[in-house]
Amino acid sequence: MSSATFNGRTESLPADADALLVDVLRDQLHLTGTKLVCGAGVCGACTVLLDGVPVVSCLLPAKAAAGKSITTVEGIGAPRLHPMQKAFMALDALQCGFCTPGFIVEATAFHDLWRAAHGAATPSRDVIGAALSGHLCRCSAYDNIFRAVSEACAGRYDGDVVASPRVEARDKVTGAAKYTVDIKHDGQLEGLVLRSPHAHARITSIDFAPALAIPGVKAAIDLLDSDREVRFVGQQIAAVAAIDRSTAAKGLAAIKIAYSVLPSVIGADAARHASAPLVFTGNATPANASEGTVMRARWKGNVRGPTAAFSQKKKKARAWIAAARAAGDPRLVEGTYRTSIQQHTSLEPHAAVARFDGDRLTIHVSTQSVFELAGKIAKRFKLDRQNVHIVAEHVGGGFGSKGTLGNETMIAIQLARSANAPVRVVFDRDEELSVAGYRPGAEIQVSLLPGADGALKALSMRAHADAGTGVNSMISGLARLIYPAEAKDLVDFDIVSNLPPGAPFRGPGGPPMAFALEQAIDDAALRLELDPIVLRKRWDTNQNRQRLYDWAQGLECWRTIAKPATKTGRYRRGVGVAAGYWLYLWQLNTKVELSVVGGRLSASTAVQDIGTGIRSVIADTVAREFGLEAHEIDVRIGSSNLPEGPTSGGSRTTASVVPPLIQAADKLKAELNKRAGRAPKPGSNAPWRDLIAASPDLRVTAQRGEDDASLARGQRSLLKDAGWIGTIFGWMMRRFSHMAVGAGAPSSVQVVEVEVDTWLGHVRVVQVHTGIAVGRVASMPLARGQAAGSIIQGLGYALYECREVDPKSGVILTAGLEDYRIPGIADTPLIDVHFDEGGFDHVLGGSVGIGEVATVPTAAALANAVYNAIGLRPREIPLRPDRLLSLLEKGSSA
């Protein structure tokens, strides 16, 4: 048997020719810092050093390591952290941390070579971008990664100081952080899912006996709904648990199954045809692709809708627009826009590890919602809520896709029950990129009519969402809460077809709405011969954005903006602006507990950190209240046994958790004072530290209360501006989603500078300026990272990301990271983040969430910049080279 050295220790290698190094590391040697993400050499999460050289362990045959020395992330920080690790920590070059081990391995190797060759010179962005081009980070921490790599190479982290604004950073840069995919119980089985090869079929028979007869297969379960139908390729049919993955795969292959294939229709365009086969008949119901409650709506064939509750004098809007069109009113701006489907692409896939101890269920889940999930599971599986324990210590990204009770979780529970053993279910990348949800695609028609007085008179928006077998997308409706007009006709439709269902994704409905609306506003400004920011200042009455417009007008690049279409030559530069908002949401019933245990202060609530940094926000908030350092606070999150905490979605965690923390801190201070035998030493610079250290064990809790409306400076809930439907909507959010909509609009105004290569159809984003109003910034590096990450995801949406399917079979073709293209580090522009910290004084602590609002206007601002550069409107994203070239060609022939 051959062997290799792993972080200095000799270990034997498996004889199996198919064994890959990544599996040896993770499964045999428990070196779980190395992550498996794409399995295809694209993302670099599995990178290790082979005799000092970075290689991807997901493709490296274990045999190829024979006689060699392998260094994993665990071997890099031991015994002392490498300067690169310290730089990643200090400059917050990470969010969820799932990609971090791979980046660390590559960046340390780069650092050592660079320093050997160039001393302490600073490598350029281009050099760093090329060196790290074999790594992907979906949280898009690239901006800070650039900084960390260049500063570490310049020798700025050679010293002993180890500090980070993110409390768990050390675990993430050393590979110690355990994610759901890393959990391993004794006797744990592996669960795999059998998926439909047909876009529409009825399963007429299914026989598990041959699967169960295979040694090592411990359970096989049926996952079909009562109608026994599957409606998209990849829909789950059955699942198997076995002692390992390959045995489980054999089990799946052995299941005998008979299909009766039914007519299907692929894609929204085909599904709209009158002759298209119906996707849903009988009692079957579509999935909910949004966060909102599904309301009743009309169906016509495969088209559901209209839902138009957010309209306002819609008949007037229609009549005015029709009249303007008939009269050839030059002020009328109309256009049709198309946005593509965007996959969340969290680097940690959907994963769950379920384990029963009697009737107690412990389940590790990669989830955005530990607390709510426990309740949902208890209900669904008829368990006592007290007996369901959800754990999510670290979560490798979510972006909206992990907010509900997911299939992976239900399957793990069912298999664990059936096999009477712990079961792990981890989606493969192709499952993740096909059946695990996505931002629905859309076709949006906009008509925008300025009145003779220059005010916005009427707006009409009709959106057709493409969410496969999912419905309830709201896109047009969101246009009610920005740019007040005399009349608005806002209509949403869903078109169902035999494709997997969509799911909420960062600011659901926001980016496509803004893509269409903000380009129409840009067009209107051109028609009215106004500066686009001047027009927005006139039409957009929101106070927060008014301040951001002032900031944007002062930007150098904006002041030197050139008129569109006067530019010639291969490379053309342009600048564009767009605005966006999101609702300020907070979760009712959020509770926090502050306690002193053994002289240390600890804060707990059942929230989870999906990379947004809530763990650090909690530590910072409590530390600030008591004049301590963040590391002096123990933060307990990621467990459903803690006091009720919020779901990480709708940018609500900060605004839900910080106010009760401040209240709890006040309570705890009172208790400490009361119990203190004597007052702190006069002049002590750490009065609370002393009191806490001397205090007996104590515990206080606080619950999130309503905001103080008197401090809101005339701002109210955005929904209050939306008439009765706003009131109903707000009530429903409270009632069914336990979310309150607070006063004020989290806002963002972005200015994007691009350079278009008209020969190769390539758009280079030179710089993005983002002005953000989300109140006081709780932690500047973390907030900056969130803002930059949102922008880069928005640029991916605008330029690269597109799900592609086979139009006949409904097979998802972009099921790997090679074909589903997310931004890499070298695609990162310079990012200038401006925080306007006013506007949320009525919120205790003064801050609301940033994650969604920062991504809403990006694609729109980019499109306006491209228009400014080439004088042609990109009406369809992503603006890939094929689309940009065809736009240019049409433009030149027109």
Binding site: G41, V53, V56, A64, G134, D882
Partner: protein
């Protein structure tokens, strides 16, 4: 699975950067034959004519880092430096790069039948061929995957295999009329790539992609050119990503030979390059990209004749 193995051919394995992915997905299931690396296969040697002999087991990174290769075969060197990712280049071999299988998203999907897997038709042809060919030369509409093959074709290199000592690269690749990725027969191993004696000339490699790095080329262009007295004396242009095999742009070469490089010759060369194109509904843009690449590369020579 073992009972199915017999119907799949045995495959050599070099670094496995292509093969491992196909085995994980189940597309390839034959026996694995790990290549027994003879020492000659890991070296670059130079003969008395100055020609380079590159062992099939030499890594892409080693080729990209080799100074003599960069000097003698600049376009070949740049092609190596420009493909895949640093981690892949560190282990991927040139033999494996030439013999790698198609990246077609139908071919790589284990649940879909296609010509390259012995199926009856090419599902991309009437399906989604966004990354397909714009020169429709054969039954299969996916472009050839190998960047290095395009570069070697531009140099008229020769492949040495265990059964064929002098296999011209164009015969190795074929003319695109078969669904096979190359003309190797089972058990035939590439041992060396023989480059021609170097000549003084300029060489370029450029690819068009949507992002900045680490993306398969939409179209790539390998160019070798020598200019004397303001006139093009030799020209060799090969486009990849656009046809079932890397495509020698002989029409464009003819236009260039003997002329000065000017805006009008570049335009004529572009027209000649795409004269025989047969784009598919979704691949017309690749012809625009090819023009763009030619303008980019030839344009660099325009001002300094």
């Amino acid at each position: 699975m073992s009972d199915q193995t017999s119907s799949f051919p045995a495959e050599f394995r070099a670094a496995g950067t292509d093969l491992s992915e196909r085995r994980r997905s189940g597309v390839s299931r034959g026996a694995i034959v790990d290549i027994d690396v003879a020492s000659a296969m890991t070296e670059i040697t130079w003969d008395e004519t100055g020609a380079g002999h590159i062992g099939a087991f030499v890594t892409i990174a080693a080729i990209a880092a080799d100074a003599r290769i960069a000097l003698n075969y600049p376009a070949f060197s740049a092609a190596a430096a420009g493909l895949a990712t640093p981690q892949i280049r560190n282990v991927a071999t040139i033999g494996g790069n030439l013999a790698q299988r198609s990246r077609c998203w139908y071919y790589r999907n284990p649940h879909v039948a296609c010509l390259k897997k012995g199926g009856p038709t090419c599902p991309a042809r009437d399906g989604n061929h966004l990354y397909g060919v714009a020169f429709d030369l054969g039954p299969c509409v996916t472009p050839h995957a190998s960047t290095m093959a395009a570069a070697i074709l531009a140099y008229d290199g020769t492949i040495v295999t265990t059964s064929r000592p002098m296999l011209q690269i164009r015969n190795f690749l074929g003319d695109g009329s078969s669904a096979q990725d190359n003309s190797l027969v089972p058990g035939e191993l590439i041992t060396t790539i023989q480059m021609p004696p170097p000549v003084p000339e300029a060489g370029f490699y450029k690819r068009a992609i949507s992002r900045t790095h680490a993306e398969w080329p939409l179209v790539e262009l390998v160019t070798r050119l020598s200019i004397a007295d303001g006139k093009v004396r030799t020209a060799s242009l090969v486009a990849g990503g656009i046809a079932p095999v890397p495509l020698r742009l002989s029409g464009a070469e003819k236009v260039l030979l003997g002329s000065a490089i000017s805006a009008s010759t570049i335009g004529d060369a572009c027209s000649a390059a795409i004269a025989a194109a047969k784009p598919l509904p979704m691949t017309v843009y690749k012809l625009q990209l090819l023009r763009g690449l030619m303008h980019d590369v030839l344009g660099r020579l325009e001002s300094n004749p």
